[in-house]
């Protein structure tokens, strides 16, 4: 019995030491954890000192949890060496998602650094239930409108399922893949293009067959040259008879002026 009590005391003492050690560890690490949890990424999260490109997060529609935002920041950081990167969510009413994306880019990313113009943003518009990728400058040469459409076509279903983190992560992963010079899968594009190409090929061949099988009818000049024709005219007398005047105003046309300045990127999106 005594032995049992002694063993229990020893175990209790060991547990107390362990608990104390854990508590001490928690005390040491708690300032870091508190910072991650408490400081929700918002605004300019990171700036690359060498390039001046930055990482912007504006989750105004509060679609992502803090931990998801932190994870997303990690995903997005790989892109900063290619240009400024932004993630935006909104639930405000605007004239169109593409216009909003353009304006957000201009406001937060465009011309904000001394680096060469380059940037891309991903916007989730909850008001119009659209997702949109807008790119500009160097990145736009890679993340073209076509690729923006392809990427949003691929990820819109995550937004439909309210998995916004996965949606955004897939967007930035795909962009990184493209910027690193690798390819992204576009199965539907290839499938539709192969049918489209086949239809166009048959149609083009048909038009060629019609064009080249058409026999050339002789011209009137050729017909005239193949017969014995005599045409003579003399004693020509022209007399003026009368004159008439018809009102026929000239048609006028004018062209409009040019557009304004600003960034000249582009993008693509998808409803969800």
């Amino acid at each position: 019995m005594h032995n049992k009590i002694s063993l229990l005391k020893n175990v209790s003492g060991l547990l107390s030491v362990c608990l104390l050690a854990v508590f001490c560890l928690l005390l040491v690490s708690s300032p870091v954890m508190a910072e991650d949890i408490l400081e929700r990424p918002d605004g300019t999260v990171y700036t690359d000192e060498t390039t001046g490109y930055k990482l912007e997060i504006h989750d105004d529609a509060s679609l992502l949890e803090d931990t998801q935002l932190h994870a997303l920041v990690k995903d997005m950081k790989g892109l900063v060496k290619y240009g400024s990167i932004g993630f935006f969510t909104t639930n405000i009413e605007y004239r169109s998602t593409s216009a909003l994306a353009h304006d957000l880019y201009d406001k937060y990313l465009w011309n904000q650094s001394s680096a060469e113009e380059s940037g891309t943003i991903f916007l989730i518009d909850m008001e119009q239930r659209n997702i949109y990728i807008y790119s500009n400058g160097v990145i736009y040469k890679t993340i073209t409108n076509a690729y923006a459409n392809t990427i949003t076509d691929k990820v819109y279903k995550y937004a439909s399922d309210a998995d916004y983190y996965r949606c955004a992560k897939e967007v930035f992963d795909s962009e990184l893949t493209l910027l690193e010079g690798r390819k992204i899968a576009q199965p539907m594009k290839y499938a539709s293009n192969i049918f489209l190409a086949a239809a166009l090929a048959i149609l083009i061949n048909y038009l060629l067959v019609k064009l080249f099988s058409r026999a050339k009818s002789p011209s009137e000049a050729e017909m005239l040259a193949s017969i014995a024709a005599t045409q003579r005219m003399n004693n020509i007398n022209v007399q003026f008879e009368r004159e008439s005047k018809t009102y026929s105003p000239r048609s006028s046309s004018s062209s409009g002026g040019g557009g304004g300045g600003g960034s000249s990127g582009g993008g693509g999106g998808h409803s969800f």
Binding site: Y156, K157, M188, F195, N205, A229, I236, S244, S248
Partner: protein, 564 residues
């Protein structure tokens, strides 16, 4: 058959030497001397051997009595029945100037470019079947003008917002003669082929002598010589008008008088009409119930041939062409699914337009709607049948010209004018077929251009607008093709490839209007539409082959075709 005076061998016309040549002793004789010796030169009629095909009833004749073992009209290999007959002699002939070897060379040159043509059409065995046939033509001499011709001329100039038109009286002495305007006189010889084989240089016509037919065949004239008088006058009228308007002192005037009024003021008359024989190398390629003709102008060497397509070869070439187009599309064409659907729908509309045009062309060709000679032959047959009917009081007109004029009048009743006005000119199309075709083309151009412009300006409405407009076009052209299909015997009961496009088109309209979020709907619609478009396109090629061939002829009387 003409016998050689030296050895009694068979004399035939030799193209290179332009003389009658004996195959046995190689002696050469002038064709007119040979005919004189046979007493054929003075007679109104001359004796020929008529060869009749037991399969189609087609008849050709020759002064030679050796027939080839196949029919020129239907391409059948058969022993031709022969009989002697008297034929009315034409006034003129253009002897063959192109040898068979030259004809084959010209034909092969053309076939070298016809990459999709069946290989049989290029085989040595096949091209050896070219046969020299003299086709009958009517030669019209038209006279116009005289002393003191009075015409009205106008000039126009713009002054500010006004157009000043000045009117003038033009008095002139005019002499315009057109001798040798030729139109084919055989109802079995397609006007399309004869029109494209033209021109024959009628200045090189010689006085007809039967000796020229030795070694060749001939078709007989079976349409009235007044049938093309109006067309000959119309051609002459156009040339005279052009001559007056381009005359140095009159260039600035536009002639007011047109058509019948101009004809009357120019004292236009068909001075005389004569029969003539023109040389044509002729070959028929039979495939199942269709026949394709290849013809070579025996004077100039111009080739006019039906060019059917070898479907497997065509599809193979299309498959190869698919690869670069696919690569180009992948490089430059990435669109969102809804835009893809709009573009595919527009292509479907274009295909339906092309399909309808093809069906319309086939129906016009099969019904010989533009072949005046065939129309006259058809009317003549109706007239014959009518006479046999009891109480046949309302007899159709007697001559082919009156019959053809009746047909023209019927056509004019249905004529809808299309007037296209631009800043500088007014184009008036009175041919209803041409007018409708022009209208269709404008509609299609507006649809495609409008769709693309809409895509650029109103991106969010692009799919709805293009899909709905395309669906309207598909349905309209489907209906029109469906109605026209009744005029094509060879397609009866076979349906239309265009029908396949209908359902996915309607489905596309539903998807475009509902505008679902999921891409699956757009891709599915576009995919189904593309597959059905491929089916319709393959059927279009089969339709083209109907257009590029002709039904096997069935002649029940000399020179006539009961399908005409």
């Amino acid at each position: 058959m003409y016998e050689c005076p030296n050895c009694g061998g068979n004399l035939r016309y030799d193209i290179p030497s332009k003389m009658m040549s004996c195959a046995s002793c190689n002696s050469k004789f002038d064709p007119y001397e040979v005919s004189d010796k046979n007493g054929a030169q003075e007679q109104e009629e001359y004796e020929v051997t008529v060869f009749r095909c037991p399969q189609c009833g087609g008849e050709i004749y020759s002064t030679d009595n050796t027939a080839a073992g196949f029919c020129t009209f239907c391409g059948s290999s058969a022993v031709l029945e022969s009989r002697l007959q008297k034929e009315h002699r034409p006034k003129y002939i253009i002897p063959f100037g192109q040898t068979k070897e030259q004809c084959k060379k010209a034909y092969m040159n053309m076939m070298g470019k016809a990459v999709f043509a069946p290989k049989e059409l290029k085989s040595e065995k096949h091209i050896n079947e070219f046969r020299g046939i003299y086709m009958p033509y009517w030669i019209y001499d038209v006279q116009q003008g005289g002393a003191g011709v009075q015409l009205k001329g106008t000039t126009e100039k713009r002054k500010g917002d006004y157009i000043i038109t000045s009117y003038y009286n033009l008095n002139l002495d005019l002499n315009a003669d057109y001798d040798g305007i030729a139109y084919d006189a055989s109802s079995s010889f397609s006007d399309t082929i004869s029109g494209n084989l033209a021109p024959f240089d009628t200045r090189e016509m010689k006085e007809f002598t039967p000796a020229y037919l030795s070694g060749f065949y001939a078709d007989s004239a079976d349409v009235d010589n007044s049938l093309y008088a109006g067309e000959a006058e119309e051609f002459a009228l156009g040339e005279t008008q052009k001559f007056i308007e381009q005359y140095p002192n009159l260039r600035k005037y536009s002639i007011e008088e047109q058509g019948k009024m101009l004809q009357w003021k120019l004292h236009s008359t068909v001075d005389q009409v004569n029969g003539a024989m023109f040389p044509v190398w002729f070959m028929a390629y039979k495939n199942n119930n269709r026949v394709a003709y290849a013809t070579v102008n025996g004077q100039t060497g111009k080739v006019v041939a039906d060019l059917p397509v070898d479907v497997p070869k065509y599809l193979g070439a299309s498959a190869i062409l698919t690869i670069p187009i696919f690569l180009l599309l992948n490089r430059f064409f990435t669109v969102i699914p809804s835009i893809l659907l709009g573009i595919v729908a527009m292509i479907a509309a274009v295909i339906s337009f092309v399909y309808y045009e093809q069906i319309d062309d086939i129906a016009a060709q099969e019904g010989k709607e533009n072949d005046k000679g065939a129309i006259a032959a058809k009317k003549r047959k109706q007239r014959k049948n009518h006479r046999k009917a009891p109480g046949g009081e309302n007899l159709p007109p007697k001559s082919d010209a009156q019959l053809a004029a009746a047909v023209e009048d019927e056509k004019k009743k249905d004529t809808r004018k299309v007037v296209i006005t631009t800043e500088s000119s007014v184009v008036e199309l009175t041919d209803p077929h041409m007018a409708m075709r022009m209208f269709d083309t404008i509609i299609m151009v507006v649809l495609v251009a409008g769709g693309l412009i809409t895509g650029g300006v109103l991106e969010q409405y692009f799919t709805r607008i293009t899909v709905v407009l395309s669906a309207v076009a598909v349905i309209v052209f489907w209906f029109r093709a469906w109605f026209r299909m009744d005029d094509i015997d060879a397609r009866k009961g076979r349906g239309m490839g265009l029908t396949w496009i209908l359902i996915p088109t309607i489905l596309s309209v539903a998807v475009a209007l509902i505008n679902p979020v999921s891409d699956l709907y757009y891709y599915s619609c576009a995919g189904i539409l593309l597959i059905t478009m491929l089916i319709a396109l393959v059927d279009l090629i089969c339709c083209y082959n109907l257009f590029a061939t002709r039904p096997l002829p069935q002649f029940h009387y000399k020179g006539g075709d009961d399908r005409a």
